[in-house]
């Protein structure tokens, strides 16, 4: 069937994209002066040794005396066999560090994603059904607010108001509480709220504008003539076609925020997730960990784009799988 082939082609293409990005990463790294090599040379010079010799030793140790293509294949093999090296700053394998951080990232990402997917289209369609009413204007205002306010700034302000002044939420994130506990829910409320506010705006706008078109479509008259109730008509006949263009916005928005703002939100709320791990690796000059986390986010981006394409094609029956 066409679908299987389509998905295979898309997955292969995603593989190509990830390879291109990994290659670029490798080129960036190899073109840069290696901090370890320089450090060794400096140290040797300070201790009265021969900097050139020390440099050579370190290069040999790290395999840098190999030709570029050998190092490239080693690098690629390492990346794809999940051999991501050792994190100096955390004294554990990079993959392990990424895994444990992912646990915390997932705790706010999952509710954030679910809330965006459910609330965004609902509010948007409701807005369209009540177009130009005060409710619609309020929703539009909220959409623009959420879209425009920098997440990290919004987070800081909410933390100040609810954490410092009102003391409703703890100022520092507590990793000791159970995942499904009231405490955890409370401390994750504000970060999730901030992220939902950021991602829902565009989703609301698109679903409002698209469903406004569909609610006046001829097929809505057909549905009414069949005896379909308004609620069912909106749920099935408006929502479903709206989901087609919306799927792109939805995945795109969530991805954009996940790859950018969530890092900041983790730093602001001190959540020990992937974003904060990346940040700390940058500060600690832990090359392997920096590489590991950025590669991880890159793969999330590639998979996200893949999903976006597949979801769009699956949702719109008019697109044949051979066309794309």
């Amino acid at each position: 069937m066409g679908f299987g082939r389509y998905v295979t082609a898309r997955v292969l293409w995603a593989g190509v994209v990830s390879l291109v990005i990994t290659t670029i990463t490798f080129l960036l790294l190899s073109a840069a002066p290696n901090p370890d090599v320089q450090q060794a040379a400096t140290q040797a010079a300070l201790q009265g040794g021969n900097p050139a010799e020390a440099t050579e030793r370190v290069r040999e140790l790290r395999g840098l005396d190999q030709p570029l293509y050998v190092r490239y294949f080693d690098f690629i093999r390492g990346v794809y066999t999940l051999d991501w090296g050792w994190s100096e700053s955390r004294s554990q394998p990079v993959l392990e560090a990424v895994g444990s951080a992912l646990y915390y990232t997932a705790q706010y990402s999952i509710p954030w994603t679910i809330l965006t997917i459910i609330l965004g289209p609902l509010v948007g369609v409701y807005s369209a059904a009540n177009m130009y009413s005060w409710k619609d204007h309020a929703a539009t205002g909220f959409a623009f607010f959420g879209y425009a306010i920098p997440n990290f700034f919004f987070g800081i302000i909410l933390l100040l108001v609810f954490g410092v002044w009102l003391q409703f939420i703890p100022v520092t994130y507590n990793t000791d509480v159970a995942v499904f506990s009231v405490e955890n829910a409370v401390q994750l409320t504000i970060p999730v709220f901030v992220l939902v506010t950021g991602s829902i705006g565009a989703v609301m706008r698109v679903s409002r504008n698209e469903s406004a078109e569909f609610q006046n479509a001829d097929f809505m008259k057909t549905a009414k003539a069949k005896g379909v109730s308004p609620l069912r008509a909106y749920a099935y006949h408006v929502m479903r076609p709206t989901l087609v263009p919306l799927s792109t916005t939805l995945v795109g928005q969530l991805l954009a925020l996940f790859l950018g703002s969530s890092l900041l939100v983790e730093v602001v709320f001190a959540i020990p997730g992937l974003g904060r791990l990346t940040y700390k690796a940058l500060i600690a000059q832990d090359t392997n960990l920096v590489l590991g986390t950025t590669l991880f986010f890159t793969f999330v981006a590639v998979v996200g784009n893949l999903l976006e394409d597949i979801v769009f094609t699956v949702l719109d029956p008019r697109i044949s799988y051979d066309d794309r």
Binding site: D218, F219, K221, T222, A223, A225, Y236, H237, R240
Partner: protein
């Protein structure tokens, strides 16, 4: 009142207005007609004469507001317009079904045709998925879709225009309606397909013993399918009667001119000169007076003339047939084959699109 002599559908003084930014627009202005079980009534008129609004007012599928419907619509003795929305929904798609002009737009492109055909069943009847599917496949088969059981799961875009309209017909018939309202169901199709669909509707009407209310601007279609005709112009009824009577002896100047447009009647197909009046501000007297070649002073004052019986079961709303009028003014010049001069050879009627 016994249920036997009562028509299936009885429309009285139906008036539909729309509130717009430019004031109130009267699309349908106090029309009456009825449909018996097993017969086909055609509402004929130019585009914009209020035919569609009239049919969509019957089960209130036009949007209210901005629309506003008045009058009485009795279906099997029940006044539909005073029914609560929830009871009306039980009638729509179940007892009274609709077919629309543009099958392309009238189907939701995101659902399979099977899903859309069975939707009405799922709402109105307590049927299992298998039963619904079996019924839909059977109907698709009957409306002439080959390989119905495999095409059940296809999407609308995988069907041609004519097939889509067949699907729309199956969609309408799935609830075993007693009244089928078909709003220009063949206009968007090409001529050969048009004929097939008309024949299909005719066959199905006999089979299902339905009353059919058929809306069209095409008198050629009327000739093929209608038992009785209601001629509408600018929201008013101009003439009504048996299809043969009206085709033989059209009484109203408007009907005459409509017929003259038909090539079969020697017309040039040029259309009627002039345009429909502004529905925000209709003219006094007969609505057709501004475009009527026989219009006199009496035609331009007061209300639309009362309907007068000019032949058994043929009524016309024209001053010339009324008290003090002289029918020969209209009839003497006569309508007949070859007399196409009044149609205007050079003027292309912009109203008939």
């Amino acid at each position: 009142m016994t249920s036997d002599d009562q028509p299936l559908l009885e429309v009285e003084d139906l008036t539909t207005t729309f509130s717009t930014d430019d004031g109130t627009l009267t699309a349908v202005d106090g029309i009456d007609f009825d449909v018996e079980t097993g017969e086909t009534v055609c509402i004929v008129g130019e585009s914009g004469s209020g035919k569609t609004v009239a049919t969509e007012s019957i089960t209130k599928i036009i949007k209210t507001p901005p629309g506003h419907i008045e009058g009485t619509v009795r279906y099997k003795g029940r006044d539909l317009l005073s029914l609560p929305e929830s009871e009306l929904r039980q009638i729509r798609g179940n007892e009274i079904a609709h077919i629309f002009q543009n099958p392309q737009e009238a189907m939701n492109h995101c659902y399979t045709v099977g899903w859309q055909i069975t939707e009405a069943l799922q709402i109105h009847r307590d049927v299992s998925d298998e039963e619904a599917r079996a019924k839909a496949v059977d109907l698709m088969d009957r409306v002439g879709i080959a390989n119905a059981s495999s095409r059940f799961d296809d999407y609308p875009h995988e069907f041609s225009g004519g097939q889509k309209q067949r699907v729309m017909i199956a969609m309408a018939l799935v609830g075993d309606p007693d009244l089928l309202i078909a709003d220009e169901p063949t206009t968007a199709l090409d001529v050969t397909v048009q004929a097939q669909i008309l024949r299909l509707l005719d066959d199905l009407q006999d089979e299902f013993d339905m009353g059919v209310l058929f809306v069209t601007h095409d008198l050629g279609v009327v000739a093929e399918i209608a038992d009785r005709i209601v001629v509408m112009y600018a929201g008013k009824v101009m003439e009504r009667g048996d299809v043969l009577d009206i085709f033989d002896r059209p009484a109203h100047p408007y009907t005459q001119q409509l017929l003259e447009c038909l090539p079969e009647f020697g017309g040039t197909g040029g259309g009627i000169p002039g345009t429909l009046p502004d529905p925000h501000d209709p003219p006094d007297g007969c609505r057709f007076a501004p475009r009527c070649e026989y219009a006199e002073e009496a035609c331009r004052t007061g209300e639309q003339p009362e309907e007068v019986e000019v032949a058994p079961d043929q009524q016309v709303s024209c001053v010339h047939y009324g008290p003090g009028g002289n029918p020969s003014i209209v009839r003497s010049e006569g309508h007949g084959p070859g007399d196409g001069a009044t149609g205007g050879d050079s003027e292309v009627g912009p109203a008939d699109d």
